[in-house]
Amino acid sequence: MTMNDGGVICTSGTQLVGRLSIDPQRLAPEIKATESFPMDPSVGYGVGSWCKCLVWASKMGPLDTAKSGLAASLPMLMAAIHETFRVEAINHLQIFSIKGRGFILPHRDWVPARPLHTRLHIPLQTNEQCLHAEEASVFHMSEGEAWVVDASLTHSAANFSEANRIHVVVDFDPEVPVHELFRVPGNCESAPFESIDRPKPTSDSLDAIYGLAEIASARNFQRIADMLATVHYDRQVNCAAMYDWLSEIAHRSGEAKLVDLAAVLQRRYLGPFDF
């Protein structure tokens, strides 16, 4: 990371790489159509209204001939993806939705040595209260932007507004270089992002966090995790710090069961993974 006048310029794998040519107004009926998709709330990862839906996978047949299923109900979006990207390199296409106030806990999807995909996020409907976090950075992705998200780094996402936030998430073959994911490689930009500046945690903040040891129990431990999963959006800390806080809370509680639970949560969300 480097500093500039406005904040922190982040130069990790996550970056804005291009734009999808879509007219938000014309796309509105398709955004509406996603509301009836069979969404998976991803219990344990998603909090509130965070949910996702697999729209298309390569095993379903070529994307450009998808005449049935959910992809067929998004013709303009599919056409824009087809015009912009080499669809033959796409593994999966998903919709990630947060229908007003919700978030996903900080996690990693794979380890750097074994990337499962090159993941692109393209916001279809969003607002300034929709934020993404990666390690110690917090940023906003605007409508139509295509972002490569390095899912091997600890990351999270949230919608702190009452309005809906909908992203289409495109997973590509990780062997294909990013610029070659574009039908016209010259359309691939490479722009580092600027993290939103937040104050550092104070001693009061840490006292409040560790004080949770007083009320922590097996019944409320997941809810403690949920609450801690939002702190990095307001404070300049790595989003993975919540797992260290959970571990410390568990140890201070003196409950062996909570120490085990904290370890289980950390492994579930940050790895190491079995795949």
Binding site: P38, P41, V43, G44, V47, G48, R101, A158, F160, T202, D204, S205, D207, A208, I209, G211, L212, A213, E214, I215, S217, A218, R219, N220, Q222, R223, I224, D226, M227, A229, T230, V231, Y233, D234, R235
Partner: protein, 264 residues
């Protein structure tokens, strides 16, 4: 506590065993007031006195639930029949079902599948309902329910017209056997250190985490001898220490939304 077990109805474990896996596999509806996996599904609906089984492929998979409902209860007084399913820490925030002096409905809970971590509360009492027990819940009091076990807790929920005496909800008195001793959960009192830790959350509370903070505070009463309504008072105290005046206003709104205006 006004909630009480009215008795036990006979349930066939074989017939339930056919339908419970279907309930567990259903994509049920979430609820804005729920936290985690707490989901529900309507089986009977309509305007009283014409509530009737919903004619869809989901309800038709539950002939035994229909039979339990019609064999035991005066279906002509039913407003709705639903299943409430909770697991893995899923619960509904402490709330009151109505705020005026007039009852909106009479609600009965009948657990179909449960476990020791399936708990309900009313005011400062926490209790567990056993399979087949028929429980009357007083929706005018702050109450809450959830399941803190991996295995789902599934309740059949019957709402009746509010003006029918409880004893007249059953088809006949032979439907129900004597109520067992209720299983209440004793908890330790909240200590001053714990209260201090709760109020200390002012050190991290913001507009972004006010709701998750309430979700945590709403569970404290399952471990400590306090009323579920305390969660809202704590939230107001915490928010009141924030430099953001909007936070206090939001905390007060949450209390009013769940417990009704003027509840203290």
């Amino acid at each position: 506590m006004n909630a009480r077990c009215m008795g036990v109805i006979s349930l066939s474990s074989d017939l339930l065993a056919r339908e419970i896996p279907i309930m567990e596999s259903l994509r049920l509806s979430s609820c804005d007031d729920a936290v985690g996996p707490w989901i529900h599904r309507s089986l009977w609906a309509g305007d009283h006195p014409k509530a009737e089984p919903i004619k869809d492929e989901v309800r038709e998979q539950f002939p035994y639930l229909d039979q339990v409902t019609s064999d035991n209860f005066r279906t002509e007084q039913i407003l709705s029949v639903r299943i409430f399913c909770a697991s893995r820490g899923g619960y509904i925030r402490p709330h009151r079902d109505w705020t005026g002096s007039e009852r909106a409905f009479t609600r009965l809970h009948i657990p179909l599948q449960t476990n020791g971590e399936a708990l309900n509360s009313e005011d400062d009492s926490v209790y567990h309902m056993g399979v087949g027990e028929v429980w009357y819940l007083d929706g005018s009091r702050p109450h809450c329910g959830g399941c803190f076990h991996e295995s789902p807790r599934i309740h059949l929920i019957l709402d009746f017209a509010p003006d029918i005496p409880l004893t007249e909800l059953f088809r006949d008195s032979a439907c129900i056997s004597a109520a067992p001793q209720p299983t209440t959960v004793n908890r330790d009192p909240l200590t001053s250190r714990q209260l201090e830790a709760i109020h200390g959350l002012a050190g991290i509370v913001t507009e972004k985490n006010l709701s998750p903070t309430l979700n945590l505070l709403s569970l404290v009463h399952f471990d400590r001898q306090v009323t579920s309504a305390s969660a809202y008072d704590w939230l107001i105290t915490i928010a009141g220490q924030s430099p953001d005046p909007a936070l206090l206003s939001r905390a007060k709104q949450l209390k009013s939304a769940y417990l009704g205006p003027g509840w203290s």
